[in-house]
Symmetry: C2
Subunit: 115 residues, 2 copies
């Protein structure tokens, strides 16, 4: 993998069953290693500046079926089984709006009850 100057690569999480694109986050070498070791998706939180085990607090973990790498080896695809919803807003996917502001995503939990 080419982690570049930032030391991070973008990773797309895709629902293994439905093919839905769930989220995009960033992965450090350590996050990739932990993902492969544990079989659960790990990322690097740029806002908290730390390793991020997705779902550790919410329970909405991602079991990783396969990790793919793109042709330039500077992006990852996590094919996952998503528990609950991927998005902190309560939606199944973080991509729950069009760029025009139309709501297209499915809400699957109430964030006030989870966080």
């Amino acid at each position: 993998m080419d982690f570049g100057e930032s030391g991070l690569v973008p990773a797309v999480a895709q629902d293994a069953e439905t093919g839905e694109v769930l989220m995009l986050a960033y992965v450090s070498p350590e996050a990739l290693e932990r993902t492969r070791e544990t079989g659960e998706a790990h990322y690097y939180s740029r806002s908290r500046d730390e390793l991020w085990h997705k779902g550790a607090s919410s329970g909405h973990t991602q079991t990783v079926e396969e990790v793919r790498v793109d042709c330039d080896a500077d992006a990852l695809l996590y094919v996952v089984e998503q528990a609950g919803g991927a998005c902190h807003t309560g939606h199944r996917s973080c991509f729950h709006r069009t760029v025009d502001g139309e709501h297209v995503g499915e809400r699957v939990f109430d964030p006030d009850e989870v966080y």
Copy 2:
């Protein structure tokens, strides 16, 4: 959209019909504007440092059905009809290998005949 310090956001292209994740590239404000104006996917090439009309030379354009934005407004999802293959290696998707090097993608054209 929050284009951040780099002036770019990552964009995932997904096949509208099959749900396959085709590629990840970067989008500038101009690229997003051109995508919305023309209905064909535009990106910003970081290696060539210029606006990139996907498929302009290869013919493998992407007709954009929908542009979605994520919860933090710092990533995009292009839902597209892909002509030919998305990947310059001749594969349908740039994510045609696992991180262990296993070949999982479908080759749909011969790059020597296209480029």
